[in-house]
């Protein structure tokens, strides 16, 4: 009996010592807070509400000409496809960072179903997903699945971060580029709206006609400016997430240095702020 109690105590001491040894090797708090804030940035509620479909609807009448209303109709079928692609990119990134958060200590439940139906290469109207892009997305999906399953037994987070860096960077770069393209197209909408309103107001024959042009111009310009501002915020957020990942990779203190924690802390605060500001 005495022997059994001693053995149990010895095993408990060894277990605590092993746990202490593990936690003293690496400090996962920085990774965990970074992964959690990044994951929240890519949740469905953060997918831009004003996407390609809204752009096509607006561009049909801001760029369109003709005597009848039918000349200002828009076919949004392709654009809805583009928006679906963007939503999938958000979903994949959220799933990956969610898995990373779980691996580094979060206890929240993970929904792996967001990983199904990853991007497929092909041409979606004027929007092309290259095999490289599709490959990167697939790699990220595989990486997230790995972290959720086998990854839980493989606590070598640094190795996982390093292995997944090309896929994460590839998808974040692509997403930032898609956002930049649409943001610039919306700025072009603004320029054309201003051009048309300026010339229409000048040639208006009555004050009432002119006021109508001015009112519509002011309302739409304000709406488009707010959308552009949100895209600017999203691109800064993505750049910060990339910066955070790079800092974790470059660190050689097992994430224990105060300097790294401070830098990641500042980035996380900024990512959270930007993520909340860009919500729909």
């Amino acid at each position: 009996m005495h022997y059994i109690i001693v053995t149990i105590i010895r095993n408990l001491v060894l277990l605590v010592a092993a746990a202490g040894l593990f936690t003293s090797c690496v400090d996962l708090k920085a990774v965990n807070t970074y992964a959690e804030s990044s994951q929240k940035s890519f949740l469905a509620e953060n997918v831009p509400a004003y996407g390609y479909a809204a752009y096509v609807y607006d561009s049909a009448y801001i760029f369109g000409v003709g005597r009848f209303l039918k000349y200002y109709d828009a076919d949004s079928a392709q654009a809805i496809g583009f928006d679906t692609i963007i939503a999938k990119e958000y979903s994949l990134l959220a799933a990956y960072f969610n898995a990373l958060a779980k691996l580094s200590g979060s206890s929240e439940t993970i929904h792996a179903d967001t990983l199904t139906g990853a991007l497929a290469a092909g041409t979606y109207g004027s929007f092309t997903i290259t095999t490289t892009e599709a490959g990167v997305a697939t790699e990220l999906g595989v990486a997230a699945k790995f972290l959720l399953t086998a990854g839980i037994r493989d606590k070598d987070i640094k190795n996982n971060l390093s292995k997944n860096w090309p896929a994460v960077k590839g998808l974040l770069d692509t997403l930032a580029l898609h956002h930049s393209n649409l943001q610039l197209k919306i700025a072009n909408l603004q320029s054309n709206l201003e051009l048309r309103s300026d010339t229409l107001a000048r040639s208006a024959s009555t004050a009432a006609e002119r006021w109508s042009v001015v009112y519509d111009y002011k309302e739409k310009i304000r709406e488009l400016s707010a959308v552009i501002h949100k895209y600017e915020i999203k691109r800064t957020m993505i750049a910060n997430i990339l910066k955070g990942y790079q800092k974790l990779l470059d660190d050689d203190s097992h994430w224990k240095s105060k300097d790294l924690k401070d830098k990641i802390g500042r980035l996380v605060a900024e990512i959270n702020y930007l993520s909340n500001s860009s919500k729909n």
Partner: protein
Amino acid sequence: MTTQENAQFANSLGALYQGIAQQMGTFLHANIDTMTQAQINTLADDQGRVLSFSNTFLTLSDNIAFAGSDACFAAITQATAEINADIKKIDNINKWITVAAGVITMGAAVVSGNLGGVGTGLASFITALKS
């Protein structure tokens, strides 16, 4: 160039043309009360074309398929800073019309893959910018 670099290049061209169109609009907006109808029509038509090129480049960027970008990348990169610095200083309609013609020539050359035309367009509007 990799496909990502091609897409980025098309995006930067779209941004360049967007910036030029915006400056044309700012000029028109500020001076519309003193311009003749003919001048307004000319500048408005030119701005419409520049906007159209910008949209074309941005769509190309989403397409990630852009032929011949290596060759014109260097020339346009060199010119971009110069354009951005000088475009805000254009203060008369005639200079705008000359600059717009060069910008449109360059855009058409890039879209059609006529790389010789890129240099011609660049030279004419950089001369106008500096005059």
